[in-house]
């Protein structure tokens, strides 16, 4: 547990958008994916995922609808909209520029 990293402010939205790019998923699926993909390194507060999803929905980047989960229960699935896809691209570029710049600064002697 000690080497888990706190999530940076505002990055949860980017993560959600990225994960939804693979296809529609419900909230619980997303938390599992975050665990699996980050190999358990990220400390995501599950609760904060849901406000984030609602926020993205209000922006029109994702769309939520009720569906049936793999264990045959009613669950709310989220899906990336075209606007969400564009948002993901621009946010990813911004993030890459930022992390490159940060890396340069931190590596500078």
């Amino acid at each position: 547990m000690a080497d888990r990293t706190e999530l940076l402010q505002g990055t949860l939205d980017l993560i959600v958008l990225k994960l939804l790019r693979a296809g529609p998923a419900n909230g619980w699926d997303l938390t599992q994916s975050i665990q699996v993909v980050s190999k358990g390194a990220l400390d995501v507060n599950y609760g904060s995922l849901y406000p984030a999803l609602r926020r993205l929905e209000a922006q029109g980047w994702v769309k939520g609808r009720w569906g049936t989960s793999e264990n045959n229960r009613r669950a709310r699935f989220y899906e990336l909209t075209p606007a969400g896809l564009r948002q993901l691209d621009s946010e990813r570029q911004a993030w890459e520029r930022f992390s490159t710049a940060l890396g340069l600064i931190l590596r500078a002697e």
């Binding site: 419900n26 909230g27 619980w28 938390t31 507060n45 599950y46 609760g47 904060s48 849901y50 406000p51 984030a52 999803l53 609602r54 926020r55 929905e57 209000a58 989960s69 229960r73 009613r74 669950a75 709310r76």
Partner: protein, 872 residues
């Protein structure tokens, strides 16, 4: 389907549904977590705890999700509206004032818009109205022409140009003693327009062979036949001939013009129905108006070009002046076509009404501003407690929006009432002889009018809500929460600007009213040069003419009779070309009259002599000209004995052949026998005609009051035949009708000016009362230091006058521009109308003084001891 939509809508706005969904979503997550824990081998209780712990605080998450969702704004809006309603319940008088003020202004503007919409914007309820055009052509000499039926048939046969076309003439008749106007139309009229009957049938193509059928308008059926459904098959008398009623047209249909028609007969029946004076009036024998439906691929410009080419070919043999030079296509999609002239006429009217709404809005903005000041402490506290300025502005704008709902409803009611009242007033003030012909197209409320009302209400409330909101939320928190905002908060400039605007607009409206009133007076005072008192004009049906004349001769009130080929005071007379020997040809109005014409109309012969009875009977080659004609054609010499020729190429030549070459035997005074808007000095030529000629129009000079004489003569002629009279009116009422538009404009302008003045009075009163209340302490100190009460009165009065004079100055400048616009359109309107300006300025300044008086007295009656103690 609808039910499902409703469920979904409800889910959208309902907070409970939102929470339930979120709840379900969150419990699904916890459930899965729990299942995973169980699968990992935990005990049930521990697995549940772990799942909850991993998730965090459900309540907090719910709150956060709710805030993040898009429904939060709706939720806030609901709160704002609830809060607003609570506030309003505490201030009913405020709400009432605002709603009434805005409702009044909005209602008047909406009424004006309803007229504009009904006449100019609403497409006529006929098939594909926008492809319909009324065609007209003009010749090089400027006269406008109609079409012959042969020309119509030829035009119709070209299917590449027009897909359909009909011709019509206007028929005047009495429908069961009700004055009525109808159209004689081509048999394809109804099928081309796609207008079905309400019942019975409309005209069919074979009605051309069986022309004694008539289709009634729904309005005529209601008013003249009392919605009697057994009307079908009834034989009715139209201008002395029997017609069979075959149907009633769909409700609301009245043809394609701005004045709806009462009946339709086939064009082939127009001979008995139309005026029989066609021998002298070219328009009536073959003068067809033509409406075409352009073929789908043909543009308006191409249509004009092709018809022009046709008419040029058809008139190529005529002399240059008579050849077709231009063709007009008037769109018939709406009652009145939208073109620059229509907009030029409607724009000032709608602007005037919009100004009243603007004044009302300024008043309300002032009230809101005063309220904003009064609520300064509340707003200050809310700001201090951390409310965002945007949130507060939104709250204040919401208040304005909530007010706009009842204001809009009231405005709608006011617009319907004022339309009803104005129609009533119009019907009761138009000269009685014409009221029977007055028809108004349906002035219904349609989607456009509703959209307009909503838009105007919202725009208005944004204007009066947003500005005060921006002002009121500006102050420094600390000061405001103490209720002390004198240093930072200076709304007085805004309030003064609003009052100046109001005064300015009132001055503008009142001066315009004054200028129009002077114009109406001046038009009424125009001397037409003919006697209009005690003269009655009658149109008789030809077959009863001789017997009617005999009956009139026996009538004691009849002092003299004359006949005239042109209708007196009913618009311009017909024109022709006359060429004197040794001088260039001239255009002149003409009239063919019996010798009695000059004495009946009181036109003295200034030189020479009148026509003799013999000359009249033999259509002798003699003419009488007006003074101006004589001066223009034979300057400096006597016209008596000179020769006048009508060129054979003149379009009226065939009807006036007997007067081809005439000798001038007399000169009469200049007169404006046609329309007051033309100059008396236009050339005018008279030719002789016997009294018993087959011309339908006769003029009767009567003794005694002319309206009474009209009734007497109606009764007398009814003994000849009930259908003997086609139409009868006094010349005085014909004259009144020509002045009527000016009077109507003046009434509207005065009513608007009065309302504007009252609103301004309220506005000035409100602002000064507020200022006095605000400066109570200062006044108290002044009084305590020995200032006289009269000094304080003068101070407040000066403030009022300063505001009003600024407004007056700007208003006068605007009024100068506006009256110049009027003067450029209308004869008899003067730009610098001293009386109009003086009256407008005087009224507004007086109103401002009156409005300032009560507040100024209040300033003087401040009790210094009380105020000083109360405020310490």
């Amino acid at each position: 389907m609808l039910a499902r939509v409703m469920v979904r809508l409800k889910a959208l706005v309902s907070r409970r549904a939102f929470d339930a969904e979120l709840d379900e979503e969150l419990s699904y997550h916890i459930e899965r977590e729990f299942e995973r824990n169980v699968a990992a081998g935990m005990e049930h209780a521990a697995a549940r705890d772990a799942a909850r712990r991993a998730f965090g605080n459900v309540t907090v998450v719910t709150e956060q999700a709710r805030d993040a969702s898009r429904w939060r704004r709706l939720e806030e809006l609901r709160q704002d509206v609830e809060y607003t309603l609570r506030t309003f319940r505490r201030a009913p008088l405020f709400v009432l004032t605002v709603v009434c003020t805005i409702g009044l202004g909005l209602g008047l503007l909406s009424a004006a818009f309803t007229f504009f919409d009904a006449y100019v914007l609403r497409p006529l309820a006929v098939r594909d109205p926008y492809s319909l055009y009324e065609v007209g052509w003009s010749s090089a000499n400027g006269s406008k022409h109609h079409f012959s039926s042969a020309q119509l048939d030829e035009l119709r046969s070209d299917k590449t140009l027009v897909s359909e076309a009909f011709g019509y003439t206007i028929v005047q008749a009495r429908l069961r003693a009700h004055p009525a106007l109808g159209q004689a139309v081509s048999a394809n009229f109804f099928s081309m327009l796609g207008v079905p009957p309400a019942f019975g049938r409309t005209l069919l193509s074979n009605d051309d062979e069986r022309p004694d059928v008539v289709v009634l308008s729904h309005h005529a059926w209601t008013s003249a036949f009392g919605t009697d459904s057994s009307v079908i098959g009834l034989r009715i008398n139209l201008n002395g001939s029997a017609f069979t009623v075959v149907g009633v047209a769909r409700e609301g249909f009245g043809g394609l013009t701005s004045s709806p028609f009462d009946f339709w007969v086939p064009l082939t029946s127009s001979a008995p129905a139309a005026s029989p004076e066609s021998r002298f009036r070219r328009q009536n024998i073959e003068g067809l108006s033509v409406v075409v439906r352009l073929a789908p691929s043909v543009s308006r410009d191409r249509g004009i070009a092709q018809v022009l080419a046709r008419m040029q070919a058809a008139t190529a043999d005529l002399p240059t002046l008579e050849r077709a030079t231009s063709v007009t296509f008037i769109p018939k999609g709406t009652s009145i076509a939208i073109n620059p002239e229509t907009i030029a006429i409607f724009a000032p009217v709608v602007t005037a009404f919009a100004l009243v709404l603007l004044i009302a809005c300024a008043n309300v903005a002032n009230i809101m501003l005063a309220r904003g000041m009064a609520r300064q402490r509340e707003i200050g506290i809310r700001l201090a407690l951390g409310a965002g300025r945007r949130r507060l502005i939104r709250q204040l704008v919401t208040e304005a929006m909530v007010l706009s709902v009842p204001a809009g409803v009231l405005g709608f009611v006011v617009s319907r009432v004022s339309i009803w009242v104005s129609l009533r007033v119009m019907f009761s003030t138009v000269p009685t002889a014409y009221a029977g012909y007055l028809r108004v197209i349906p002035l219904d409320t349609d989607a456009r009018v509703l959209a307009f009302v909503v838009l105007a209400a919202v725009t208005g409330s944004l204007a009066f809500g947003l500005i005060p909101a921006l002002q009121a939320t500006r102050p420094n928190i600390v000061q405001a929460s103490r209720g002390d905002f004198d240093t930072q908060f200076r709304p007085s400039r805004l309030r003064n600007a609003l009052v100046v605007t109001q005064v300015m607009l009132s001055v503008l409206l009142l001066i315009s009213a004054g200028v129009l009133l002077s114009g109406a007076r001046r038009t009424a005072a125009v001397d037409p040069g003919i006697r209009t008192e005690n003269v009655v004009q009658i149109e008789l049906l030809r077959q009863f003419r001789a017997r009617s004349l005999d009956r009139l001769r026996a009538e004691p009130t009849v002092r003299g009779m004359a006949t005239s080929s042109s209708t007196v005071l009913d618009g311009r007379f017909d024109e022709l070309t006359v060429s004197p020997t040794d001088a260039p040809a001239q255009r002149a109005s003409y009239n063919v009259v019996s010798p009695g014409y000059f004495s009946v109309l009181g036109l003295p012969l200034l030189a020479g002599r009148n026509f003799t009875e013999d000359e009249a009977r033999s259509a002798a080659n003699v003419a009488i000209v007006s003074q101006s004609t004589a001066d223009r054609l034979w300057p400096g010499k006597s016209p008596i004995g000179e020769t006048l020729t009508i060129p054979a190429t003149d379009p009226n030549y065939q009807y006036l052949q007997s007067f081809h070459t005439t000798r001038v035997i007399g000169v009469t005074r200049d007169a404006v026998p046609g329309s007051l808007n033309e100059s008396a000095t236009l050339p005018m030529v008279y030719y002789p005609l016997p009294l018993d000629a087959s011309v339908s129009r006769i003029l009767v000079r009567v003794s005694g009051e002319s309206e009474q004489a009209v009734a007497t003569l109606e009764r007398a002629l009814a003994t000849v035949d009930s259908a003997a009279v086609v139409e009868m009116h006094s010349l005085a009422s014909a004259l009144a009708l020509q002045v009527y538009p000016f009077r109507a404009m003046y009434w509207v302008a005065t009513a608007l000016g009065a309302i504007a003045l009252i609103l301004t009075l309220i506005g000035v009163y409100g602002v000064l009362s507020y200022i006095v209340a605000q400066r109570r302490r200062e006044f108290g100190i002044r009084l305590a230091l020995g200032a006289a009460g009269s000094t304080l009165v003068a101070m407040v009065m000066r403030q009022s006058l300063r505001l009003s004079l600024t407004g007056v100055a700007i208003g006068v400048m605007l009024a100068l521009a506006v009256s110049r616009l009027f003067a450029s359109v209308l004869l008899n309107i003067h730009t610098f109308d001293a009386a109009g300006y003086a009256a407008g300025i005087g009224l507004v300044v007086a109103a401002c003084v009156v409005a300032a008086y009560a507040p100024s007295r209040r300033a003087a009656s401040v009790n210094p001891v009380e105020t000083l103690r109360a405020d310490s």
